[in-house]
């Protein structure tokens, strides 16, 4: 397939891998974080880490939108789903995230009307088909997904739909990156930047990383050669003593982002003062809520929810995994008590979660060649 096969060419991959090896200073250990869960998935699907020398370590970031949802928000969603008049809609993976007393899938089994949708537009369609019921969309995702919710709420208003509400859990990528860079737990040497999130916000919002923290970031595509080339570009910057934002994914990501998307988001959402991230705790101005102009569509204003912060299960180390402090297989319950079929932690639920990616593609501790 054109524009796919070219980015999966094995010979070119080997050439890039050799160039990566040549760029690494012997004896120096480099930690690069892939921010986006989609990159984590690509890395293990295509075995990209097997092509890297041992002293180039990939650390998995907080960019899986399902994995960062705290248990308390799941409980709030279930409380709304259990309202008698409600059809509760969400993306598939979200249904399996455990709350303090079961998941949305468990709530569905117990009688709540919980439905999986592929898009907020699907949820709006369900609302139009069921005018006697209230349809609530559990919105999750970074800047990649937030425009979809914003455009759907604008469409609902334009179409005069009054039985459609949104429980907004959209998060923004810059504040957690800053929190990670401020964390004493972690020393990172560079970032593989979000590809499709960058399509919305552009590459410019990441300029603080080289400016304030002196670390390079390369916005990357998702095909194997995209990821390898991005790693090479980061290592080239380090070898040259440079640190800047570079855009490997120019065929999709404009430096300035998508103005239509940003405008729609600014109309429909406003920043929350703070939001809890699984494993990272409360981070200021890191999430979106429905704006006053669209308050009619805010499920949290219509329904009372527990709003209680729930601590993660003690055995689960998703927090350390999300911060890149430990590898998934270093978690005490990885692959034993916690599996994709019966997840304890969020990282094992979504295929973009680091634990699920390791589990599904059989990635465990193993040796690689030292340069």
């Amino acid at each position: 397939m054109r524009f796919v096969d070219e980015f999966r060419d094995a010979d070119l991959g080997r050439v890039l891998a050799a160039e990566i090896v040549s760029l690494v200073e012997p004896g120096r250990h480099l930690k690069l974080m892939e921010v986006c869960g989609g990159h984590t998935h690509s890395i293990y699907k295509y075995g990209i880490d097997d092509l890297l020398p041992e002293n180039v370590e990939l650390v998995h970031g907080p960019g899986c939108p399902v994995c960062v949802i705290p248990m308390g928000r799941v409980d709030d969603g279930i409380a709304i789903a259990n309202q008698p008049d409600v059809i509760f809609t969400c993306f598939g993976d979200m249904m399996r995230i455990p709350g303090s007393d079961g998941s949305l899938l468990d709530a569905k089994a117990a009688g709540a009307d919980v439905r999986m949708v592929y898009s907020p537009l699907d949820a709006l369609r369900i609302a139009k088909k069921n005018p006697d019921r209230t349809v609530v969309f559990f919105a999750i995702g970074f800047e990649t997904t937030a425009p979809s919710t914003a455009l759907t709420l604008k469409r609902a208003r334009a179409d005069g739909v009054t039985n459609f509400l949104c429980m907004c859990n959209h998060v923004t990528i810059v504040p957690p990156l800053r929190a990670l860079l401020d964390s004493p737990d972690l020393r990172l040497d560079g970032f593989i930047g979000p590809g499709h999130g960058g399509r919305v916000v552009g590459a410019r919002p990441f300029e603080f990383i080289p400016a304030d923290y002196r670390r390079p970031l390369v916005v990357a595509g998702f095909e194997p050669l995209d990821v390898l080339q991005s790693i090479k570009m980061i290592l080239q910057q380090i070898a040259d003593g440079r640190c800047e934002v570079e855009n490997q994914y120019k065929r999709v990501v404009p430096y300035e982002g998508n103005m239509v998307a940003l405008k729609a988001m600014s109309e429909v959402f406003e920043l929350r003062p703070h939001f809890e991230w699984r494993g990272l705790g409360f981070i200021s101005q890191s999430a979106l809520k429905i704006s006053e102009a669209f308050a009619d569509f805010d499920a949290e204003l219509r329904y009372e929810v527990p709003g209680v912060r729930v601590a993660d299960p003690k055995a689960c180390q998703c927090g350390e995994v999300l911060k890149g402090v430990i590898k998934p297989w270093e978690c005490k319950v990885f692959g034993t008590a916690c599996t994709p079929e019966r997840p304890i932690g969020t990282c094992m639920v979504s295929p973009e979660g680091a634990c699920a990616a390791y589990y599904n593609f059989g990635r465990y501790a193993r040796d690689r060649a030292v340069v």
Binding site: G63, F91, S119, S148, H196
Partner: protein
């Protein structure tokens, strides 16, 4: 999975990832340009979906789009 989402959760295909939850976009081709900024699109496997096209502007039948969560984020190269 039924069209209105009333079916049980479909098995998650861990080899391809989740098209909605990960920050990935799926290449889709425009089958029918509908009114009001929507277009019926299909992916490489023939799965079709109505897609919001406000972020990319006017689209034409046969055009390829990168779609995430039911919204076209970009035009894919031809």
């Amino acid at each position: 999975m039924t069209p209105d989402g009333t079916g049980l959760l479909p098995p998650c295909d861990h080899t391809i990832g989740c098209i909605t939850c990960g920050d990935e976009a799926v290449p889709m081709s425009v089958l029918v340009v509908e009114e009001d900024g929507l277009a019926l699109c299909a992916d490489a496997e023939g799965n079709s979906q109505t897609v919001e096209t406000a972020l990319v502007g006017d689209v034409a039948t046969g055009e390829r789009l990168l779609v995430h969560a039911g919204t076209a984020l970009a035009r894919a190269a031809a």
